[in-house]
């Protein structure tokens, strides 16, 4: 399944402007944020890009941290002032979904980087764990196990210079592994994947996130 590259020409979905709540804020300082917005459009869910602290208003009750370069996003989270409202959102136990760089931003520990960003996900994550671009790959695996309420069989997974989870603390659950490496975690309302569900055309993980 080939999904078109997305260019974004609007700052929010048409129904987000008047919404009092139920809007998904998509961190939009760098990376593949337009692709997440396209998935939410497909699902009919309101969204709004988060480019500056003032974009984070009361209508936002869930947040997506998209793929991109985590070092770039980390700097811009600070300079835009978006770090504090998103950190508060996560601390309040509200839903957050991090993909690839987003997983790095959520992790409590990084084993090859001195930085820690939101530090909310009880796991140690290794950046660029599969090497350079020639190590990027696609695979298929299940999210969760049969019988789990959030079980999703045969998810297509795309890894682009992806991270993986080196170790998981007691608070987080491993939902997906590839070659023995955990690549998807859930910790209550925190969802984190080393892969890119926004690039595959399979919307089930986004639907799960919207149900949190």
């Amino acid at each position: 399944m080939v999904v078109a590259v997305q260019y974004i020409s609007k700052e929010e979905s048409d129904d987000a402007e008047t919404a009092k709540h139920g809007v998904t804020g998509i961190l939009a300082v760098q990376g593949a944020f337009a692709e997440h917005a396209a998935v939410l459009d497909k699902l009919g869910a309101p969204w709004k890009l988060l480019r500056a602290a003032s974009d984070f208003d009361a209508s936002i009750d869930r947040v997506i941290l998209p793929g991109g370069e985590s070092t770039t996003q980390g700097k811009l989270l600070r300079s835009t002032g978006l770090f504090a409202p998103i950190a508060e959102h996560i601390a309040a136990g509200k839903p957050v979904f991090g993909t690839c760089a987003g997983m790095i931003l959520l992790a409590s520990r990084l084993d090859n980087d001195p930085n820690v960003y939101f530090g909310a996900l009880d796991a140690t994550v290794r950046r660029n764990a599969y090497g350079r671009q020639l190590g990027s790959f696609a695979a298929t695996a299940d999210f969760g196990r049969p019988g789990d309420a959030d079980y999703l069989p045969d998810l297509p997974l795309v890894f682009i210079r992806g991270p993986y989870v080196v170790s998981v603390g007691p608070k987080a659950d491993v939902k997906t592994t590839v070659d023995g490496h955990p690549v998807a975690l859930r910790q209550g309302n925190i969802l984190a994947t080393a892969f890119h569900p926004e690039l595959t055309g399979d919307t089930r993980l986004h639907e799960l996130f919207l149900s949190l």
Partner: protein, 291 residues
Amino acid sequence: MTQNRAELNRNLAQMLKGGVIMDVTTPEQAKIAQDAGACAVMALERIPADIRAAGGVSRMSDPAMIKGIQAAVSIPVMAKVRIGHIAEARILQAIDIDYIDESEVLSPADDVYHIDKNQFDVPFVCGAKNLGEALRRIAEGAAMIRTKGEPGTGDVIQAVRHMRTMTKQIHELTALRDDEVYEAAKQLAVPYDLAKYVHDNGRLPVVNFAAGGVATPADAALMMELGAEGVFVGSGIFKSGDPAKRAAAIVQATANWQDADLLAKLSENLGEAMVGINEDEIQTIMAARGE
């Protein structure tokens, strides 16, 4: 190259969107670029302004120098090969480069043929002045496009011209009836399926960055305004008075290009910008290399 690898390579460019890719010549510069928030670096021995000043034949950089930069940073590392130089591209693939730029900044190795990039596993970015060039490079396997601009001048006019031309031609193609696309493909000298893709989707099938002559935060914001999905900055940073500060300012300007109050703050006290040369003062038109 499998279909799967082609997709993964286009996907990496998607992850670079909204970011700034900076030319660097040493591991120290690469670290400055990464610390400033660059989403990738382009490793090369001489930045375009110095290539222009030195004259002579300009080639792929020493692999040892590129490896030094790969070791210094964790963000993707790109490097340039001469247009049509298949062997230089194989060498860069062998050292596990993240992206190859088949670039008009270096002296062309072939004045007729570009590299058949479909034969490589590593992704390529290529320059284009218009829609026809962009789609021909994509047909050859380019996973990312950038405007050519005029490298090493600090003059943004050509990048603006190329981006506006491409956008206008995309709009024109999109407005055609379905049965007119065959003739449009012939006029553009591109494969029909790519012309049809642009007609149906209103955009290129790969990510499109601005490059060539971007020197200030305002230049970067201008290119984003015109539809660029990110920016390459070559000579503009390390030919200026305070590279670290200018680099960080261009990163922020690219992310928040619509915020004029912020752009005003970012543009303050950046020190001296690169001197720059006007397009009518230069002798070598790099953008004319490779059609």
